[in-house]
């Protein structure tokens, strides 16, 4: 079970949250201008990295607010938590061996 630090409520069990997939996927500025390939890619294709992933979570059983998390998809190490709408923080070097699961 992950321990996730909600920006408003602090650390809570994963079971209080719901997952929202990749963060920072903007709705196309001009959907009409997209080709079918581009529209299909917007609808169906998301990054799937083995490593750090910026993703959305919602604190369903708490404050019910959405926020973003940078989590390593192998170690589950959470290296950043930040409000929705803010850019992904730049992270130079950080340990990859911490396991919080």
């Amino acid at each position: 079970m992950l321990l996730i630090a909600c920006p408003w409520c602090g650390e809570r069990d994963e079971t209080e949250f719901h997952y929202g997939g990749q963060a920072h996927v903007a709705y196309p500025a001009d959907p009409e201008a997209l080709t079918d390939v581009e529209w299909g890619a917007y609808l169906f294709v998301r990054d799937n990295p083995k490593g750090d992933f910026a993703e959305r979570w919602v604190h369903t059983a708490g404050c019910r607010r959405w926020f973003n998390v940078v989590r390593h998809t192998v170690t589950h190490d959470i290296s950043a938590v930040y409000p929705a709408g803010q850019p992904r923080p730049s992270q130079e070097s950080r340990p990859q061996n911490e396991v919080t699961a």
């Binding site: 992950l2 998301r46 799937n48 083995k50």
Partner: protein, 406 residues
């Protein structure tokens, strides 16, 4: 003591060094990669083939799944490919001369709500029209077929009925892999373990002409990915984005018990699926973890959730012990159907997205993939599963079609 150990039994396949070049390089020695290599040789006479595996043969999902085999899917395209698989399963033990304990003990898909009942009856009708064996059982018939299911009305989600596919069942997954590996090897296919593909060799037009591996560069006429949960890590290297998300999926077994469970029971609504292996352990599968993950382990609350469902359905399991839990990495697509076929990258083929339910497809997956690779165009049964469906919108929506889990 060591001098009392018996001789090591004969190896089932050779352990060759990689050759500099192959007609086809298959990436991944799970069931799908092995079946592909076997059918390339058997059906198409293409035996200058290597299967490259980063770990050990069948160390991925192939020997981590709960081994349920069935073909009672709702969508025609799915039922067609899974039924092709089931027919192949029925002949494979004899063809491969290997008794991998394929047991057609039937699969029950329980209905717990009015919506489940309607979906189940509809699927039985669709299956029958499509030539797939299917029956609808009422609660008394469920109890007669599988006496240990709790069919009393005073549980949270009473059993209102079930679909039954009598020809469905289970098989011993690691032995299936070994049987396919032995047969592929006998046809001259090189099975190369501890050989991770780390990059692709491309010519000036961008066509793939080989792979970089931890054991050096290997040239290839065609490269066929069969890397399940790791497919995106490979296609990312080519700038090819696929509609796949990798998730942990867990399962567990109990200690060895007397035979108590005569069939396979699945419940999508309370989410658990249970059979009893030949050796005697109860084999149960959980749901996927919601988040993306490559860690081959999931969160414990998924196990807890699954056990709660299992105990409600099977009170007799209350005193059984969990012996082992484990996880695999499953490659999930938006419509819960696989992606099979050529790609925009010349000479590169993909077969992925089987997600939580690809073991049952193993022989058909290999059959249609080998044909697709050999002819450079989709096999008719694979054509609906091409990557293009995410542009055309012709999805094969097995998420909506239920009975989708495993």
């Amino acid at each position: 003591m060591p001098d009392q150990l018996p001789e090591h039994p004969d190896w089932l396949w050779r352990t060759p060094d990689p050759k500099p070049s192959y007609d086809v390089v298959v990436v991944g020695a799970g069931g799908h990669g092995l079946a592909t290599a076997y059918y390339l040789a058997r059906n198409h006479g293409i035996s200058n083939v290597a299967v490259l595996e980063r770990g050990w043969l069948a160390g991925g999902n192939m020997a981590r799944n709960t081994t349920i085999i069935r073909s009672n899917y709702l969508c025609e395209e799915s039922a067609a490919i899974y039924e092709h698989a089931l027919k192949l399963w029925e002949g494979l033990p004899q063809e491969l001369e290997y008794d991998f304990l394929f047991s057609q003990r039937g699969v029950l898909n329980l209905a717990h709500t009015l919506q489940d009942v309607r979906e189940g009856m509809r699927r039985v009708g669709a299956n029958r029209l499509g030539g797939v064996d299917a029956e609808w059982l009422d609660p008394d018939e469920v109890r007669a077929f599988c006496p240990i299911v709790n069919t009393s009305p005073d549980v949270r989600y009473p059993v209102l009925g079930a679909t039954l596919q009598p020809r469905a069942g289970i098989a011993k997954h690691d032995h299936v892999a070994w049987a396919l590996a032995r047969a592929a090897d006998a046809h001259g296919v090189d099975l190369i373990q501890n050989c991770e593909v780390t990059g692709f060799v491309r010519d000036s037009d961008g066509a793939v002409v080989g792979v970089e591996t931890t054991r050096g560069r290997i040239a290839a006429g065609r490269v066929a990915l069969a890397a399940a949960g790791h497919t995106s890590t490979l296609t990312d290297l080519l700038g090819l984005r696929l509609p796949i998300q990798s998730h942990p999926l867990q399962a567990l077994v109990s200690e060895l018990l007397e035979p108590v469970h005569p069939t396979v029971v699945m419940s999508n609504h309370v989410h658990v699926y249970v059979s009893q292996a030949h050796k005697g352990e109860l084999v149960m599968g959980a749901g996927i973890d919601s988040y993306n993950g490559y860690g081959q382990r999931g969160s414990f609350h998924q196990i807890e959730h699954q056990m709660a469902a299992a105990l409600e359905l099977f009170p007799i399991f209350a005193r059984a012990h969990v012996l082992r839990t484990w996880g695999g990495i499953v490659d999930v697509t938006p419509d819960a159907s696989p992606i099979i076929g050529p790609t925009p990258v010349e000479n590169l083929y993909v077969n992925c997205g089987w997600g939580t339910g690809g073991f049952k497809a193993t022989p058909a997956s290999g059959w249609v993939y080998a044909d697709t690779i050999a002819h450079g165009r989709p096999h008719p049964l694979a054509a609906p599963f091409a990557l293009e469906r995410f542009t055309t919108g012709a999805l094969i929506d097995e998420h909506g079609a239920a009975a989708v889990a495993h």
